[in-house]
């Protein structure tokens, strides 16, 4: 499952947007949103999810339980 941003906690600082290796994050109405189609949970890029690591508000970027986990294609 890709990640999602809890918009009520988002400060709109766009730190995640700059770090995302998949250009999956954009800003709308002062908060950031993740395009689940583009998010790869940073698999194949980094050991940790970049957006989670850089976000200034804890527990704001989390796995989206409603979607399946991203699978690296073999």
């Amino acid at each position: 499952m890709p990640l999602k941003i809890i918009d009520t906690q988002c400060t709109g600082c766009q730190a995640c947007e700059q770090e995302c290796p998949n250009v999956a994050i954009s800003s709308k109405n002062g908060v950031c949103i993740i395009n689940p189609k583009k998010c790869t949970e940073c698999l194949g890029h980094y050991d940790t999810q970049q957006c989670v690591a850089v976000c200034p508000v804890e527990n704001t970027i989390v796995f989206d339980d409603s979607l399946p986990r991203y699978q690296l294609r073999a």
């Binding site: 730190a15 970049q50 850089v54 200034p56």
Partner: protein, 516 residues
């Protein structure tokens, strides 16, 4: 509560702090008689001509300039790459005035238009800074695009930026390319063991680091960045947040470390940690320093290193003279509707008028200093001054949003800081309480100089042992202060008055209760 009530037990703690800092004294604080002891208040005779040329119109680098010149910050850099325990990025309030706080973020294009609009409306606006609300170098594209646009359209405006230093070494060459000649680095420690209590984490090389390791990386990057800047002749100011019990004593070491790496000015600021800001320090009840603790630390670091004492810890989108904020006049909506014509000749004409005013002030001070020659006394004391600017005693006691603090001795009048106060004249807020707040804020002063003051506060101030002084309304602050001090010494000499030391004072935290 993070603010200490001023009583005997705290006086004991203060003595302790002063004692601990005494070791660091003697690095030239009471130097030769001709040398100004306070660098930020220093004039052209105290520094190399090329440095004076760089700082003379910069309100954040020259105490003397800040009475005459204004700055603005544009909030183009929202992202940050470290977490500090005194910062909460979720907090935003237009009534709140402190670093990291901003009401609206701007694109580089909006920022550049705003700068031109403000520069046209406020001709003494000479400096543009990017200070956040995150870290400018964690948003390098937005930051440098803004600099590029302004550099092209208004080359007379000085550019500066304020950073935590983590990414500084990577960007020093770009900083030099855009002729950014003032960089401020916030350095709160040079020992990672201490740093771990200030910085919970940093984000570096695609990884989040925590604890001592995070603080070590940050420290190494800060020192490297500072050295690279000074090598290139870019002026560096170091900001440090004084956190009692965490880094207060340690800041003396920070001072030595940054001085030896060529920093030009050190600005030690009191921690802001009101619980309602929701910062870690606010939640844990970490208090900020008292006025005398802050002054003792600043005094002990003063010497070859210039100390800044006029910092107002302003917002990342502040506009105007230090201590005033006109950002509400220049919202994006208003700016985008404005026809802006950048008239550099009009700005130059205005600025030369300011120079004449400024020279008059310096001459008034020198004239009075000559009058002090021959006086000798160990007495030194503080006074508070209500001023609207231009170096004059020209504000009504009840309208003052802050008081400037001067230390008087036979060496002259020296600016040593300022104290924020609530607006006293605001009706409906309980005047009794406001007056008590003001007295607490200037409780370490012997007198308060005002343009005018009402009967009631006058009596209360006198009772609190602070003499209200109205006779210098409209006159130059330093000249007035020295005249008053001469009379004070005379009264002590003749026995008409006994010199009594004053207690400590509180540093006010949080927002102004009413808009300016």
């Amino acid at each position: 509560m993070q603010l200490l009530p001023i009583d005997a037990s705290n006086q004991g703690k203060l003595d302790q702090v002063m004692q601990q800092m005494a070791d660091h004294k003697g690095c030239g604080t009471t130097g030769g008689s001709g040398k100004s002891s306070c660098g930020s208040g220093a004039g052209p005779n105290d520094m190399a001509p090329e440095i004076w040329e760089k700082v003379k119109n910069h309100p954040c680098y020259s105490e003397e300039a800040h009475h005459h010149y204004a700055r603005m910050h544009v909030a183009v850099a929202p992202a940050c790459n470290i977490q500090c325990n005194y910062c909460n990025r979720k907090y935003d309030c237009a009534n709140e005035s402190r670093p990291g706080v901003v009401s609206e973020k701007l694109t580089p294009e909006q920022a550049s238009k705003k700068v031109l609009a403000v520069a046209s409306a406020i001709p003494q606006m000479t400096v543009l800074g990017i200070a956040g609300p995150g870290d400018p170098l964690a948003n390098p594209e937005k930051t440098f695009k803004t600099f590029e646009l302004i550099y092209k359209t208004a080359p007379d405006i000085k550019l500066c930026l304020s950073t935590n230093g983590l990414m500084l070494p990577d960007h020093v060459d770009t900083i030099a390319k855009f002729k950014v000649d003032h960089v401020t680095i916030t350095i709160n420690m040079v020992d990672p063991e201490i740093g771990q209590y200030i910085y919970p984490w940093i984000f570096y090389n695609h990884k989040r680091y925590t604890g001592v390791e995070a603080a070590r990386i940050l420290h190494e990057r800060q020192m490297l960045g500072l050295e690279m800047l000074t090598e290139r002749g870019i002026l560096c100011k170091v900001n440090s947040v004084m956190i009692p019990g965490v880094n207060d004593k340690h800041l003396v070491e920070v001072n030595r470390a940054v001085k030896s790496r060529g920093a030009f000015l050190h600005n030690i600021m009191p921690l802001i940690s009101a619980p309602e800001h929701g910062t870690v320090f606010g939640m844990t009840g970490q208090r900020g320093p008292t006025a005398q603790e802050l002054k003792a630390l600043q005094d002990s670091c003063e010497g070859e290193m210039n100390m800044m004492r006029h910092c107002r810890q302003c917002r990342a989108d502040a506009v105007g003279l230090l201590g005033e904020d006109r950002s509400a006049e220049f919202t994006t909506e208003k700016i985008m509707g404005m026809e802006v014509q950048y008239d550099s000749d009009a700005r130059k004409a205005y600025q030369s008028k300011v120079e004449v005013e400024r020279q008059a002030k310096v001459e008034a001070k020198q004239e009075e200093l000559r009058g002090l020659a021959g006086e000798s006394s160990d007495i030194h004391l503080l006074i508070a001054v209500a001023t609207k600017g231009s170096g004059l005693v020209n504000e009504h006691f009840g309208h003052a949003k802050e008081f400037q603090i001067y230390e008087l001795s036979t060496a002259g009048a020296k600016f040593v800081g300022h104290r924020r106060v609530d607006l006293y004249c605001q009706g409906g807020y309980g005047e009794e309480d406001s007056l008590a707040t003001i007295i607490r804020a200037i409780n370490d002063c012997h007198a308060v100089f005002v343009a005018k003051i009402g009967g009631c506060p006058k009596a209360d101030l006198t009772q609190a042992g602070i003499e209200p002084v109205e006779e210098f309304a409209g006159q130059f602050i330093e000249k007035s202060a020295i005249t008053w001090f001469k009379a004070y010494l005379e009264k002590v000499k003749t026995g008409a008055l006994t010199h009594q030391p004053r207690g400590d004072a509180q540093i006010r935290q949080g927002a102004f209760l009413a808009a300016a």
